[in-house]
Structures are given as structure tokens and as C-alpha cells.
């Protein structure tokens, strides 16, 4: 047990740096993918065929590409176009672009749970597409979107560990450093698992409280 705690306390700064970067990666990419994904979701239900086509094509290409490949594209291919982005922002962009495709599908399926009469009534009083979506459809779609959206966010939090393979020091990169220092891998991995459980807990609590809040006002 003392050995177990020692692994953490002796290497505290490495753990702290790693998880702090993981949290930052997660927060930037969460905001980015929610905004981009909602926009793409709006495209997919819009009355303009070109926007619908763009949304569907984006989802089909990005969702079917392995995340590692998206990372490789941003870290290795984009610099060849003389666009130089640092490793950390590259990782944020990769996670945002990838996760947005999943958010888009959650938004679209949420919109589909709202009765079509709601949109018709909103259009009939003269609302524009943005207003129909923003005032009437999305507020009602959100409650159906919360559980799958949280699953997507939790998946993304764990996907941040792929950035370790692309020169970002985050939680997924800790094992490599620790093995250089000769620390026992088994204990290191358990600590990282505990770290992720701690990070995911607030998301689960947020989901519960949102579900409870919206269940009442129906």
C-alpha cells in the first residue's frame, strides 16, 4: 500500500501536468465540438439541399475515419501545406472535428424526437428557420439529447489519450515516462484509471441533474 501511494506522490508533478493537459484538451474540444456539431446538425435538418448534403457528407467521411488517422492528418499532413500548428492546438482541432460528427448525429436524432407539428406551428406564425430551431425545436430536443450527448463527451474524454501518440503530454503519455523512471506499470495504470474515473464523475452527475431538471418541466 505504501508502494502504491509512493508511485503517486513521488511523481505528482508528472501526474498533475498530464491530467491538467487532459482536462484542457477536453474542455477546448468539448466546446468546439458542441458548437460545430450543433451547426452541422442544423445543416442536416435545414430546408436547403446543399447544406443537408454538406452535413451528411461530413458525417459520413469523418465518422468513418479512425481518430488516429484524423490526428495523423493534422499533425503530419497539414504541416506539409506550410501551415504550422503546434501539437496541442492540433490535438484540439482533431478531437473537435472528429467528435463534431457524433454530436451532429445526436442533435439530428434529438430534433427528430420533436413532433413535426411543432415546427409547422412555428413556421405558420412566421418564424424563420433559425427561430424555429432555436425557439421551438432545440429546447424540446435537448432533453432527448442529454444522455447520448454525455456518452459522446465521455468517449471524447477518453479519446484525448490518443494525443499522447502525437507529442502531447497528457494522461495517456504518463505510462511511457513512468516506465523510463522504472516505476511499476501496474500501479501507474491503476492511478491513471482512477484519474479518469474522477474526471468522468462530474459528467455523470451533470447528466443526472439535467435529466431531472427537464423531466419536471414537461
Amino acid at each position: 500500500m505504501t508502494e502504491f501511494l509512493r508511485v503517486l506522490t513521488d511523481n505528482w508533478s508528472l501526474f498533475a501536468d498530464g491530467f491538467s493537459n487532459t482536462v484542457q484538451l477536453f474542455l477546448y474540444s468539448a466546446v468546439g465540438s458542441l458548437v460545430l456539431g450543433t451547426l452541422l446538425g442544423a445543416f442536416r435538418v435545414s430546408p436547403i439541399p446543399a447544406l443537408r448534403w454538406f452535413g451528411a457528407t461530413y458525417v459520413n467521411i469523418v465518422r468513418n475515419t479512425p481518430l488516429t488517422l484524423v490526428f495523423a492528418f493534422l499533425v503530419f499532413a497539414v504541416p506539409k501545406l506550410d501551415v504550422n500548428i503546434d501539437y496541442f492546438p492540433s490535438a484540439c482541432i482533431a478531437l473537435t472535428v472528429y467528435t463534431a460528427a457524433f454530436v451532429c448525429e445526436v442533435v439530428r436524432s434529438g430534433v427528430n424526437t420533436v413532433a413535426p407539428g411543432q415546427a409547422e406551428a412555428a413556421r405558420a406564425i412566421g418564424m424563420t428557420f433559425d427561430q424555429v430551431l432555436g425557439q421551438v425545436i432545440l429546447p424540446q430536443a435537448v432533453r432527448a439529447m442529454v444522455p447520448p450527448l454525455m456518452s459522446v463527451m465521455i468517449a471524447m474524454l477518453k479519446n484525448t489519450t490518443i494525443a499522447a501518440g502525437f507529442s502531447v503530454l497528457e494522461a495517456g503519455a504518463i505510462p511511457a515516462y513512468m516506465s523510463e523512471r522504472g516505476e511499476p506499470q501496474f500501479i501507474v495504470l491503476i492511478w491513471i484509471t482512477i484519474g479518469f474515473l474522477i474526471l468522468i464523475t462530474p459528467l455523470v452527475l451533470l447528466q443526472r441533474s439535467l435529466e431531472r431538471k427537464w423531466a419536471v418541466s414537461r
Binding site: A115, G126, Q135
Partner: protein
């Protein structure tokens, strides 16, 4: 004839609409004058709801023209939204915004579409709810109201936009029988005040006493139109006689 055209608020000319192979509107011509109440009747699937929904372009048409207040219906975008704000619509299934209170339902259009001041809209909205007899329920949600009450709110919501015309798409068909009267009472009083109305309905009583004109549709065609007294006493076509004999004998 020209005089009639000048007064017409809604004009449909040679309107055609297909749902796949089904020709639901066939060369439909109809003109509704300002202040006129036109009741559209006919068997299920005759195209009467489609006709009603085509007037504010909830159903786009395939050919022909529809003009409202002298302007052809815009195809999409803001111009269409503006036109729809001038044409109230009442649906069979009410379609009140489920996440908004009764008062918010009535206020949403004027505040968001017309950008009116909420304080002024609130007074007008409460006045309209008073008028349809639901003012005491203003803070409830739609699901807490009966069907008849919801439909009266839907009428108040349409009136809040101060529309030039109101479209009713089978407004009482989803209601329990004892609630039909309260909705028809509101509609009758609107008709008496000179609101231009197009009403798709199976309520023959309403057609008889509130309509200026009855339009009979069957199989996508506008078969017959006449003043209600004349239509019910003396239908000219076999199709209309057959329809009336089926619904009036029970």
C-alpha cells in the same frame, strides 16, 4: 368580375399538386374575398387539407399560382416567413409549443417575429386569452389543458399576430364531442366580426350558419361552390348529393 378580383384577399389559380403519383389538387381555382368565410367540405382524401395548407405554403404546390393580398406567395426565406405571419393557421392537433406556458405560446410570435415589446404583447395576449375564456390558465403548460382549451389557445396564438386571414385545418376533428361547441363558438364570433376565414371542417352546422360560401371538394377537384343554404338544400352535382346523403342521414 374585376371588382371581385380587386377585393379578393386569397386567389388560387390552376393550382396542381402531386404526392408521388397521387394528383391531390387538380386545377383548383378559388378566390376568397376580404371578410369572407369559406368552408371547405368533402370526403377524406379529397385534398381539402392540402388546399388549406397550400395557402401559407406549408405544402408547396407543383404548378399554378397563389396570391395573397395581391402578392404571389414567396418561395422560401424571409419573404415567406413575413407572409405566414399575416396568415394565421389553426391545426387539427393544436400544435401548441409544449415547452412554453399558455401565455408564452400566445406571446412568442409577436415578440420574436414582430419584435414587439413584451410588456405590450402581454396585455394583448391576456386580452385574447380572456376572449377565448382561458385567461385563468395562462401560466399552465399545454399538456395540462383539455383539447378544447388547447384549441382555443391556438386560436388566440394565431390572433396575436393580428393576421389578415385565418386558416382552420379541421380544427374540431381531434376533439371530444362536448368540446367541439366551445371552439366553434369562438370561430363563429370571429366570423361575425368580419375575419377572413378558410375553414376545412366536417361541422355542417358551422358551415350552415357561419359560412358565406361552401366549397365542396372531391378527388382533388373543386366540384361545387355555393351559398350554404343553397348548397345544403339543392346540391347540383351527384358527388355532392351522395356526400350529403351519407353525412346528413345520421
Amino acid at each position: 368580375m374585376d371588382r371581385v378580383a380587386d377585393e379578393a384577399l386569397i386567389v388560387l389559380e390552376k393550382v396542381n399538386k402531386w404526392f408521388g403519383p397521387l394528383h391531390v389538387l387538380q386545377d383548383v381555382n378559388l378566390s376568397v374575398a376580404r371578410g369572407e368565410v369559406v368552408v371547405v367540405i368533402g370526403p377524406s382524401g379529397s385534398g381539402k387539407s392540402t388546399l388549406c395548407r397550400a395557402i401559407n405554403r406549408l405544402e408547396p404546390i407543383d404548378s399554378g399560382t397563389i396570391t395573397f393580398d395581391g402578392q404571389p406567395l414567396p418561395a422560401e426565406g424571409r419573404a415567406l416567413a413575413r407572409l405566414r405571419s399575416e396568415v394565421g393557421m389553426v391545426f387539427q392537433s393544436f400544435n401548441l409549443f409544449a415547452h412554453k406556458t399558455i401565455l408564452q405560446n400566445v406571446m412568442l410570435g409577436p415578440v420574436k417575429v414582430r419584435k414587439e415589446k413584451p410588456a405590450a404583447v402581454r396585455d394583448r395576449a391576456m386580452g385574447l386569452l380572456e376572449r377565448v375564456g382561458i385567461a385563468s390558465q395562462a401560466d399552465k403548460y399545454p399538456a395540462q389543458l383539455s383539447g378544447g382549451q388547447q384549441q382555443r389557445v391556438a386560436i388566440a396564438r394565431a390572433l396575436a399576430m393580428q393576421p389578415k386571414a385565418l386558416l382552420f385545418d379541421e380544427p374540431t376533428s381531434a376533439l371530444d364531442p362536448e368540446m367541439v361547441g366551445e371552439v366553434l363558438d369562438v370561430m363563429t364570433s370571429l366570423a361575425a366580426e368580419g375575419m377572413t376565414m378558410v375553414v376545412v371542417t366536417h361541422e355542417m352546422g358551422f358551415a350552415r350558419h357561419a359560412a358565406n360560401r361552401v366549397v365542396f371538394m372531391a378527388d382533388g377537384q373543386l366540384v361545387e361552390e355555393a351559398a350554404p343554404a343553397e348548397f345544403f338544400a339543392n346540391p347540383k352535382t351527384e358527388r355532392a348529393r351522395d356526400f350529403l346523403s351519407k353525412i346528413l342521414t345520421h
